[in-house]
């Protein structure tokens, strides 16, 4: 009895703390996740929405999006944006495919991630040194990388003939859990830790919230912005490794259509598009929501056109609920 009372008091305190930050909005994404899950579970009970194989399907689909979303959360947190992630996925998958054949799975994955680091460094350096908004820089590199990927194997997909690579990065599983899901969990853990427990994460948020103040506090904001864009690109290239592992190919159009899905996932998750506020857990949950929507709407038997409409509406509602910042909501309350 006593224990219950104490736990209740602790919960109440935690809630009070959260609501005084205006931070309850950061929980919208989890509420949305549970509601959508519940609705689909009830409506699609007979279609096996909750079956293990379907849930695993959703997890596998969400994995590369979630990995990209974690990276994008850092780019957005620093008040930058990375539009080149889709093409980075494609190029990394091709580089992995090319390298795996000659040097084995480890070098293959390493080379792919190295591509990501190089792309991110280029994005960051151009953004910071030439002083062009990252929106435009990465719009440019998106095209360039996309072109390089298309040239690399003349629009042909490149097979990956390494069982180790496929098992480790996609097709394999540990017990009942797909390796894709495990990798996603690892990326989530690293991202969450870096954002909340490392000085670097805090400095990324400070830089994104107010670059002039951050600079006045002595932060080297240039280096921080470059590193945030590098994290985004490295995450994208790792998503490329996961896609390549799952499909056992590298191809120029992998990830090409994922950019907007990733941005939607990150923003639904409570990360501000304008910097200074980010949630890695929210980004991953957002990615799960996007995958669940895809899966559920298909199982419901909606036409592709109706799927698009339904998905668009749900995204707008979720973003509207999660996006407003605490200070704005204070303003709203004061007439």
């Amino acid at each position: 009895m006593r224990v219950h009372v104490r736990a209740g008091a602790r919960l109440k305190r935690a809630w009070a703390r959260r609501s005084e930050d205006g931070g309850y909005r950061q929980y919208v994404v989890y509420l949305a996740f549970v509601s959508i899950l519940a609705v689909f579970a009830l409506m699609l009970w007979d279609d096996g929405f909750l079956s293990w194989s379907n849930l695993l399907n959703i997890g596998r689909q969400a994995a590369p999006i979630a990995v990209m979303a974690v990276g994008m959360a850092f780019a957005l947190a620093s008040a930058e944006i990375d539009l080149s992630i889709g093409s980075t996925v494609a190029l990394s998958s091709l580089v992995a495919a090319a390298a795996v054949g000659n040097y084995g799975f480890f070098i293959g994955a390493l080379a792919a991630v190295g591509v990501g680091a190089a792309v991110g460094l280029a994005n960051g350096l151009i953004t910071v040194k030439v002083r062009i908004p990252s929106f435009l820089v990465t719009l440019g590199t998106l095209g360039i990388i996309s072109g390089i990927a298309r040239n690399m194997n003349n629009l042909q997909s490149m097979p990956i003939r390494s069982d180790a690579f496929s098992a480790l990065f996609g097709a394999g599983s540990l017990g009942p859990i797909s390796s894709l899901v495990i990798w996603t969990a690892i990326v989530f853990a690293i991202g969450h830790f870096a954002l909340h427990h490392l000085r670097w994460g805090r400095h990324v948020l400070a830089t994104g919230a107010n670059r002039a103040s951050a600079k006045a506090a002595g932060l080297s904001t240039d280096r921080i912005r470059i590193s945030a864009l590098m994290v985004s690109s490295v995450a994208a290239s790792f998503a490329g490794v996961l896609l390549a592992g799952r499909l056992a190919i590298g191809r120029h159009d992998l990830g090409e259509n994922d950019l907007l899905t990733v941005i939607a996932a990150v923003v639904i998750g409570g990360t501000s598009l304008f910097g200074g506020r980010a949630s890695v857990a929210g980004a991953v949950t957002g990615a799960l929501i996007m995958a669940m929507l895809n899966n559920g709407l298909i199982l419901m038997g909606l036409e592709v056109a109706d799927q698009l409409i339904a998905r668009g509406l749900i995204i707008i509602v979720a973003v509207a609920l999660s996006m407003r910042t605490p200070s704005e909501s204070v303003g709203d309350d004061v007439p």
Binding site: R199, R202, A206
Partner: protein, 255 residues
């Protein structure tokens, strides 16, 4: 006579065609509050930003305790013991009180490895933040609140508290009491007096002559980027100061 805590010599700074500072020299001393006065656009904030490492002056030197340094970045200024409360740049709204107080000075745990990767020691920062604010008599309802949600007075108190917390020897304050209510402004003044009594050298930019006569020992007046006067506050009247600011009186009296 010991060397002044901070000594600026012949500092000039231009922004394209606009000469914001021209050949300005001034000294500030430990245990004294020096007012930096001047009309809008006189160059006060530019001067403070040059000392704080935010801007690089075109020419001139800054000496601290008699030693000349090149202040190439805000980080260098901080290491030399100069803390600045800028007009608008002092706090990051979305970070909470603790995070702001320790921004770029975070405590880490986990030994040398922890400090290399920057593993935050949150509990220690929280504890010390609480202790510091209590010591300064600053009461903030919640340290976990983003500072953007606090009142102007509380924000200024935190910004000044940051300078105090780090035991800096020189504190530059750019209009710390502007836009504050009467009571809050008084509390900021109390903090400034506390700094002075702790033997800190304070440079205070203000437009309020009452504050000058209330807490300042000396005053430097800038006019159109040049030094118009450097006086001891007890040797002049408020009207004299206003006259220096508007240019009605130009002699460099007092010193």
């Amino acid at each position: 006579m010991t060397a002044p805590a901070l000594s600026v010599r012949n500092m000039s700074k231009a922004f394209r065609a606009v000469q914001a500072l021209e050949d300005v020299s001034l000294d500030i001393h430990r245990g004294q509050v020096t007012a930096l006065l001047g009309d809008n656009g006189a160059g006060k904030s530019t001067l403070v930003k040059c000392i704080a490492g935010v801007y690089q002056p075109d020419s001139g030197t800054v000496s601290i305790d008699g030693e000349t340094h090149r202040i190439s970045s805000p980080d260098v200024a901080r290491t030399l013991g100069v803390e600045t409360v800028h007009q608008n740049l002092s706090l990051i709204d979305s970070l909470n009180v603790v995070e702001n107080l320790f921004l770029n000075r975070e405590y880490t745990r986990g030994g040398s490895f922890g400090s290399r990767i920057g593993l935050l020691h949150k509990r220690r920062m929280s504890r010390e933040c609480q202790a510091t604010l209590a010591r300064l008599g600053i009461s903030i309802p919640s340290l976990r609140k983003p500072v953007g949600l606090l009142s102007g007075g509380q924000r200024q108190a935190i910004a000044i508290g940051r300078a105090v917390a780090w035991g800096q020897k020189i504190v530059l304050l750019d209009e710390p009491a502007a836009a504050l209510g009467v009571e809050q402004a008084q509390r900021v003044l109390d903090l400034i007096v506390a700094l002075r009594d702790a033997d800190v050298a304070v440079l205070l930019i203000t437009h309020n002559m009452d504050r000058v006569t209330q807490v300042c020992d000396g005053a430097v007046v800038l006019r159109r980027g040049r030094k118009a006067a450097e006086v001891k506050v007890d040797q002049v009247t408020k009207d004299d100061l206003v006259a220096f600011i508007t240019g009605a009186k130009t002699t460099d009296s007092g010193t």
